[in-house]
Symmetry: C2
Subunit: 622 residues, 2 copies
């Protein structure tokens, strides 16, 4: 290699930094891939998909190609398409960390702000005065006297006498808030643990923490075993209502799911399960209701009343969660039937409540939940029924984000699609994030018009079946099933309704707060679906508002991270309670404006083009 054509490139990624040598005669993408650095790219370096963008920090690079120029209007400032750019000197770039599971796509990562470790569980070492014939008070009374607390779990009594004598009346006393829940001889190892759980309708994620250091000791996830009783919340609520024993089925299913995660977490980390004393569960209102044995039936009809919204604390033994039976399982407080503890956890994890600005949090799923925070610290929240299409349900070739699903799509000028399949190989269908990108590109390439209608055309990529037009993303010969993978007109309509609901909900909250979209300085995108969402595509669709890309940030599984923060910090725990109380829940069905905004928002991107001026300009450049 000619020395003058090779340069040193420092790469920053996910807090780490390393260096490779690059050849200026090849594209940056080629250099990165050769060095084993996985950079997203769909179109194979053709400059079509824009996925291989990296941020350039310093150094000299080749000027933008035509292709790249189009994209530079869309990308955040400082971003270059690595397939189009060559490195001309020693340089520094930043690459987004790409780390995705190969099998399912259960979102296990999340952002956690730094916080001081101060859990509800505390340990105190005490040395008791040993008893004598002159001092015959009971073991329990001797212990309590030395602690100056009056509250204790009576189930500590069983082991107390032996524990006190095992290390000569010197013990570590484990307390939960102000209740003594365990007494451990000082000669035993002193570690104690907690677990944060996000109970999703589809998936359950659990994080194990050392409650002394705050260190994360493992992450496990699994599908919610309730799925066999119904894929979505509504069918499960129906099932639960039919029979008391059905409700118990559901309760047991989620308990079993959590217990399996606990088993895996503790085995892998090599810790004792009976040294876990605290489990914090986030989840939507229905999931938390089922956990507590309530069928949540009245959530689903007006006036939509949940069984509870506060933070519930229950003995692990009462729930059947297999940690120390004197420990507790508790819920993150929620706000209403449709704004659950998962959203409060999202807020905590995102730091929305601490923003000194106008900001929003959007959790995308079958229900879209939106929380708006004004500069003055007022909180409004609303939920809208987006329907299951965003999660791949009710879409002809839709599927969950599991192996074989197309998760990302780009369409070139000739209407050919480039895509990425979860787990690699031939695709079996398309999941939510793929559907969003596909429809956005269909709009960019004018395969659909503003109303979402697939245009009349002779193109080989559009065909009609039973009088319904459909766009072919994957020809039959390229799919795993041997059948085409398409998006039908009906599929597009379903997505239009979903995206319109979300946008209209956000806009309605914005109007209720008396501000404008442009006041939004930060938008946090939460949830599994959101995390894999391409912001630009979502803007093209008109689901997310037309504000600069850098104002958006993903918080990943904010629900489990928020739960973890409540687990680790008393202060955060109190904060969550106070936030839950402060948030005003808006019932969109009672707001007239929501209906009219919803109709306008079904256009792509919107009936009022002014609202998407920048996005439309960028679309047109591509």
């Amino acid at each position: 290699m000619n020395p003058s054509t090779s340069h040193r490139l420092r790469i920053r990624s996910g807090g780490k930094e390393f260096e490779i040598v690059v050849d200026e005669r090849r594209s940056l993408l080629e250099n990165l891939l050769k060095a084993g650095i996985m950079v997203d790219n769909l179109c194979g370096g053709r400059g079509i998909c824009g996925k291989c963008a990296v941020k350039v920090i310093s150094g000299s690079f080749s000027p933008p190609t035509d292709r790249e120029l189009r994209w530079m209007k869309v990308l955040k400032p400082g971003m270059r398409l690595s397939c189009q750019v060559r490195v001309l000197s020693d340089a520094v770039i930043e690459v987004e960390e790409v780390s995705r599971g190969v099998e399912g796509k259960i979102l296990t990562w999340g952002a956690m702000k730094g916080l001081a470790v101060n859990p509800l569980v505390k340990i105190m070492k005490v040395k008791l005065k040993p008893p004598s014939l002159q001092d015959q008070k009971g073991d329990l009374e001797r212990l309590l006297e030395s602690l100056n607390v009056k509250s204790y779990d009576p189930l500590i009594i069983a082991d107390l006498s032996d524990a006190l004598r095992e290390s000569d009346f010197e013990v570590n006393v484990v307390s939960y808030e102000d209740e003594v829940i365990d007494v451990i001889p000082v000669n035993e190892e002193l570690r104690f643990f907690g677990v944060a759980v996000d109970i999703g309708t589809t998936t359950v994620v659990a994080y194990l923490y050392d409650l002394m250091s705050g260190e994360n000791l493992g992450v496990e996830s699994a599908y919610n075993k309730q799925i066999r009783f119904g894929e979505d919340v509504i069918s499960r609520v129906d099932y639960a209502r039919k029979d008391r024993s059905n409700l118990e089925d559901l309760r047991k299913a989620v308990i079993d799911t959590i217990n399996e995660l606990l088993e895996n977490l503790t085995q892998k980390a090599g810790v004792r399960r009976d040294r876990i004393y605290d489990v914090v569960c986030a989840g939507n209102t229905t999931m938390l209701s089922f956990l507590m044995g309530n069928d949540c039936h009245y959530c689903s009809k007006a006036p939509y009343i949940p069984p509870f919204t506060s933070a519930i604390k229950m003995k692990a033994r009462d729930l059947g969660i297999s940690i120390n039976y004197r420990g507790y399982v508790r819920t993150v407080p929620s706000i209403s039937a449709y704004i659950g503890g998962d959203i409060v956890a999202d807020i905590i994890s995102s730091g929305l409540h601490e923003c000194e600005c106008t900001a929003a949090l959007i959790d995308l799923g079958t229900n879209g939940e939106i929380v708006l925070r004004t500069r003055e610290g007022e909180f409004l929240a609303a939920s809208c029924a987006a329907g299951p299409a965003l999660e791949g349900y009710g879409v002809k070739n839709g599927m969950r984000a599991v192996k074989g699903a197309i998760e990302s799509v780009v369409i070139d000028d000739s209407w050919r699609s480039y895509y990425r399949v979860i787990g690699g190989g031939k695709p079996r269908g398309i999941c939510g994030s793929g559907i969003i990108e596909a429809i956005a590109w269909m709009r960019i390439r004018n395969i659909i018009d503003e109303t979402g209608r697939i245009i009349e055309t002779d193109s080989e990529w559009v065909k009609s079946e039973a009088g319904e037009r459909q766009f072919i993303i994957v020809p039959a010969e390229d799919s795993a099933t041997g059948r085409e993978i398409v998006l039908t007109q009906r599929d597009i309509r379903a997505i239009q309704l979903a995206k319109a609901a979300i946008y209209a909900a956000l806009l309605t909250l914005i109007h209720i707060a008396g501000i404008s979209l442009n006041d939004l300085e930060k938008v946090f995108i939460a949830g599994a679906f959101g995390t894999y969402l391409d912001i630009f595509s979502a803007q093209v669709l008109g689901m997310l508002p037309d504000i600069p890309r850098e104002r958006f940030s993903f918080i990943g599984n904010g629900s489990v991270m928020g739960a973890a923060m409540l687990l680790l910090s008393r202060e955060t725990n109190e904060e969550a309670k106070s936030i839950a109380k402060r948030i005003k829940s808006i019932e969109l069905n009672t707001i007239k404006e929501f209906q009219s905004e919803f109709i306008k928002a079904t256009h792509i991107p919107h009936a009022n083009k002014e609202l998407f001026r920048n996005v439309i300009e960028r679309m047109e450049s591509l």
Copy 2:
């Protein structure tokens, strides 16, 4: 019948009063028995046993016979032997209520002072404002807000939503202390119940109460199923210590026993088991420890430390007691390893703590417990190992107080025994109360001397076997087994040790308190054995002190009655806690005087005859 020989006799008995016509030519006993009034009598009207004594209130009676004169020195003032006396005018007498079970002799009655019903369980009717789209707070939060309490059992959540809507948001809220434990639609019947339990080593007794009226709705008793793991406390403690699962056996056995009693109580009374919210358990320290899952091992060796002495409150579901699973099971507070919650309950039931005098409480059994209250309100308590002989164990022909046991004995001048058998029929053996009376009469008839030795004699009633003398109470032909029923020299020695321990313990406490025996204005006798005890016989033996008969009173099963009072009254509950704290437990093994008093007390009645002057005088008169 000649009208001039018949008179009207009013009889008072157990609070009731009724009238019969009597014939002055027959003994009062004959007249009573003819009228169907069961009066105790062993000797068949021979004036030997003194059991048929009744109290004469008014009227004219025949003068005492020689036989009766002897007894009148022994009996309380105003008492006459009904077999010896004839009624010569219209008259009024009082007959002690005689009510004994035919099968076993489980003590189910007890005295309860009048008290205002004020249980820990309360019901409050509340009418909640129904929810609306403008007021969507959770059901739990709506309820709590209306109650202004913060504490609740999270297991109320499961049924809450339906309960609130069943009677249009008007419900009866059941609380325990300050915790909401149930929510019942107003259209359901409003009754709630509690149970008092005495967990004896041998028998368990349970009383069912209506907690609104304080009315007793039933009494049930059964043998403690723990018996199969050991008849006495020590063998059960040994069994429990051997293996963790053994302890669970014991715990389960007593829980099963209680659950069976609950089942019987509720079935017979026709009440719902899930409307029982409170169970108060009295029992000795070991029984209460087993209940709470502690093996109580350290109670049995110096310095004799119990796992707990305070009043423990545990959710019924945690214990497996089948009442409402959100209700509580709690213990009567105890004092030390050997002064249990049963004794505190005895105190409460007897009113010892409220006596404005010097008084004592004696609970007789394998362990004798003695509580002394000084005029100044100081409380001293001690326990002494009396051994199992008083309960019929370790005695050649001894047996428990069940069907076929001789429970009462008197011996005439010719050394022939008259006796009463529990359940009637031929005797199979002799139980504690019978043994006490038999030995007392052996002393009165000089069959044994002051040291307890059976004298050398040619009498057919005394024989030797393997070099040991024995006294024949029942000849072979009169017994159910076809073998003689005897008391051996060894049997008498065992009783001497038992009675000496009790007397020495009482005397030691008296001395520690700096008072004298004669200061005792009241002596309460508690417990199953005590209730059937003949006070005079016990004084002849030197077990009870030589103070006037009327100072003694039986409180029956004071343990279950005390538990019932704690169940029914918050104030009494607090009183019990305060008493338990005030009582000073004396470890007799650490007191030198106890040993020397014990030796002196082995004589019958005592080495120091001065202490039993009156008793000896009466003995000699018989």
